[in-house]
Symmetry: none
């Protein structure tokens, strides 16, 4: 939950905050082993962001802790002011929420990867060649129809390609004290379902029954002849974002997981027609009067970074840049451009590096002509700070926090 002294300091008024998260925004420059050279943000032609930086405050955020590479879940929780070390929950819950499903108190959720194994049970592909979503749907239907576990209702929910989720519904609910069966590696077999605490023993039996039946049902499929489970999680118990900050929050996102997280926090989801940054900004402008907090999530920066596609990430940044004037025309009282974590394309993965941060408001100390980049951000007025403090800054600059003490 947001810092303890917060709820009572928050003021309800008409000022608006736009928090635009460029997923995986930060870069590293150069290639591993040959550091140096521009990052994607330095290479990108972003005249609007550069100009905006001059009349904004810059800084850089530490997503979870110095040196720690975060997953998208904890990294976003931090941006929303929820201590990611306190609010831990598995990928399963995020998947279910991302599908727009309500996870009940009686539901244990886990994320499924359809996978390929060889004759000896060793994993050869953790994603089953990224099977088409239609195949995923068919397999999920088959599993849900045929699997039978006494006193447990089993739901198998297709996501995209090889991704799915499972819900085990029973009362009292099962425990999330379960290890992943996904070994995160190939050439080895899936791990057997294992409780990691005494309280998970009953769950272990249920999950073993599920996995045994599933492997039998999938045995003749090609290439998805196996499945891997990870992120067991009960229903997350997250304080309502809008109530905590006294905001009317809306989320604009294309990817299911981010929609799911926003939904778990009680944000309303705004429909986006299309998947480009411009489509998301269309949605923002259209609903601008109906809310006073907007989480705008841009996925492409992270996706291209994970692909190792430097030019692709540069291009997404440039696509975002051309949208900036449209947002500024609406004159939100506080406009933040942040990232949840860094995804240097040279590393093809999330990383622990601090993340560039820009905050524009009528109340900010300004940086002058230094542009928007990792280098500019490292000497910015906001310093280097924990991402979990972003909301404090945003609320302050939007005139939404009272004074603390006399």
């Amino acid at each position: 939950m947001p810092a303890k002294y917060f709820p009572e300091l928050c003021i309800e008024n008409n000022s608006k905050i736009v928090l635009m998260v460029l997923d995986g925004l930060g870069g590293m420059g150069g290639i591993p082993g040959e550091p140096g050279g521009p990052t994607e943000l330095m290479a990108a032609k972003t005249p609007h962001l550069d100009n905006l930086a001059g009349i904004s405050s810059l800084g850089s955020t530490l997503p979870v802790a110095r040196g720690i590479t975060p997953g998208s879940g904890p990294a976003h929780l931090a941006l929303f002011g929820y201590d990611p070390l306190q609010y831990l929950f598995g990928r399963g819950a995020l998947s279910v929420a991302g599908l727009g499903m309500e996870q009940l108190r009686t539901d244990l959720a886990a994320r499924i990867n359809f996978a390929t194994i060889d004759n000896e049970g060793r994993i050869t592909d953790r994603r089953a060649g990224r099977i088409p979503t239609e195949t995923c749907k068919a397999l999920c239907g088959k599993l849900e129809a045929q699997i039978s576990i006494p006193n447990v209702e089993v739901r198998v929910l297709p996501e995209k390609e090889h991704r799915a989720a499972v819900i085990f519904r029973t009362d009292p609910p099962l425990s999330d004290a379960m290890a992943d069966t996904d070994p995160q590696d190939v050439g080895v077999p899936a791990k057997p379902p294992m409780a990691i605490k005494e309280e998970g023993r009953r769950t272990e039996n249920v999950v073993r029954a599920f996995v045994d039946q599933a492997f039998e049902i999938l045995a003749d499929e090609t290439p998805a002849n196996a499945l891997l489970l990870r992120g067991f999680s009960g229903r997350p118990d997250l304080p309502d974002f809008g109530q905590a900050y006294r905001l009317r929050p809306a989320a604009i996102a294309v990817y299911p997981m981010y929609k799911g997280l926003a939904h778990l926090l009680g944000m309303e989801l705004i429909e986006v027609k299309g998947a480009e940054p411009g489509d998301e900004i269309d949605a923002l402008l259209e609903k601008f009067d109906a809310y006073n907090f907007f989480f705008v999530h841009i996925k492409g920066t992270d996706s291209r970074g994970e692909d190792g596609d430097f030019d692709g990430k540069v291009s997404v940044l440039e696509q975002v840049d051309v949208q900036i004037p449209r947002i500024l025309e609406k004159r939100p009282e506080c406009f933040v451009v942040a990232g949840d974590h860094s995804t240097p394309s040279s590393m093809k993965s999330h990383s622990w590096h601090p993340v560039p941060f820009l905050l524009h408001s009528r109340y900010c100390r300004t940086e002058g002509r230094i542009g928007f980049s990792e280098d500019a951000c490292k000497t910015g007025h906001l310093g280097q700070f924990p991402a979990v403090e972003v909301m404090q800054l945003a609320l302050a600059h939007a005139g939404r926090l009272e004074k603390f003490g006399a």
Copy 2:
């Protein structure tokens, strides 16, 4: 209390620390809506501070937490090394201490504002036109003489203009779990006395009796026909500053609240003849041999900031600047120029912005020719850090801290 690992590391020796607090030191630059341009500190001609910065370490402090605008009480506590989130107490206790009154274990204190209400009880002026202090004294005397509450001794203490304090003395003492009656707004009536916890129920009755009688007694007064209460507080329990750090501390301040806080911390108050920065430095130099820690409080920077008087704040900074050589001549082992918080004159109020910080000692890393300003401080050797760590730095640079561990 000062950081836990402190008391045992503190060394008693002859080195001296001068902590000069320019209240509300930090600025914002430009005007809200048109950020940019110089802050007061940048605009002021401060050749002595600028030269000193070159042979000092700079940084910026976060008074209470990022984005949080502090009152003067918590902001000063932090500078003295007391966690302002742990040591919470109301304005009432500060007012009483500022009057040089000892608050007993049996005393509940609250701050009074004399105010003006219309025929329907709605507040038209929260400060009753800033009545003369003599009127305030007369009203306090009248209230103290006429108000009668069984088993409770009531003291009504005049401060300056519309400000006063009340003490409710009874054993066992009353609870501070009371909401303010001051709605901090005009056009609405005063709030009725309300306990915010079950334990405050007895107090609520006492305070209601006080308020009812007071409103009757004041009914025919002009313009002070009402009063507002805020900051209910029992006797604050603050560890002694001098004992914690093994220092002989003295305070040089003109305003009652800061004297009050220093007194609560066990600092000795040095008399100041006059109210100008130069008068305070006179007092410092005169008593320089008698103590080894000096808290020198300059109020004008904050007052002019609150007035929205950019030039006035610049002028106070320039008045302080000419005093710097006099202080340096005494060669204190550690000389700190800090602020408790920012008060940008463009905002006419306290703010959350980081506060410029300068530390001069024979042991500091030096900055070179960058002057003393918000911009210079943002890239200083000391970084951006919580104000509650200022005393650690000051003691270290004065050679007053032992090594931690072997």
